[in-house]
Symmetry: C2
Subunit: 121 residues, 2 copies
DNA sequence: GTTGTCCTCAACCGCAAGGTTGAACAAGGA
DNA sequence: TCCTTGTTCAACCTTGCGGTTGAGGACAAC
């Protein structure tokens, strides 16, 4: 858990933290406000926020005695880049494999053995 | 750690597992082959693969006594969708905020810059 | 058969993560 | 001043994760 990518993925592995990110995408919020929907203590939520902050996903600005939490969307790019890189690489592999198979089947009927694409929801 | 999204994020939070995914994007591989570069036992790597498999990121096909590991790229879409959704939402917020600020600038004197908080709604 | 290779299962260990409660701190309001 | 609100810190507990070693199962080669 040393590099940023690990911290970001790890931070988003928790359902509560993902939900907090989802809500912070709509509007900034204080800790109490954030803690309200969940069945855990405010201190637990404060810990979750610390994790998100250390991952670079949120920032807290001191404002009076409140500490509004703000979503930092830039870190998302880090993940997206990582994901897209290897997904594209894998898809490229399949494409090449399909080419090879197609070449082997030049005399035969062109059966499409391509992998299912973009299924999940 | 019940839903798939949590499993995927959690699986990719580990540097070794991310590296295995990176290598599997290039070519399928056996467990020993995968374990070779790392300074851990083969059993540990086997456990890592189990985590990746339960996250739906890889599949293992029985082939003789070997069990080649294959990367399943579809699950990446699950993450990308989640990430893009909230990033877009956050960016939309900033865009609207900028519009509001621009509107305030056009209607008021540009010396009024003390109110810079990015408040909710 | 026996051996060797590849892999997984089981039991264990150390440590960090996520939860709790109780106390403390900072700042506004009475 | 004292009280209330919002938040964090500290200590603790339990669970799960990543690592180990040792044993065992499946299959190819001999």
């Amino acid at each position: 858990m040393d590099d940023q990518l690990s911290r970001v993925f790890s931070a988003l592995a928790d359902p509560i933290r993902r939900d907090m990110v989802a809500r912070l995408a709509v509007a900034d919020a204080g800790v109490n406000e954030l803690a309200e929907p969940y069945d855990v203590s405010v201190q637990a939520v404060s810990k979750h926020l610390k994790v998100l902050e250390e991952a670079g996903l949120v920032s807290r600005t001191k404002q009076a005695q409140r500490r509004p939490v703000h979503l930092e969307a830039e870190v998302f790019d880090l993940m997206t880049k990582w994901i897209e890189r290897y997904r594209r690489q894998a898809e490229e592999r399949y494409r090449r494999l399909d080419d090879v198979l197609a070449e082997m089947d030049t005399e035969q009927s062109p059966t499409d053995t391509r992998h299912t694409e973009r299924g999940a929801s």
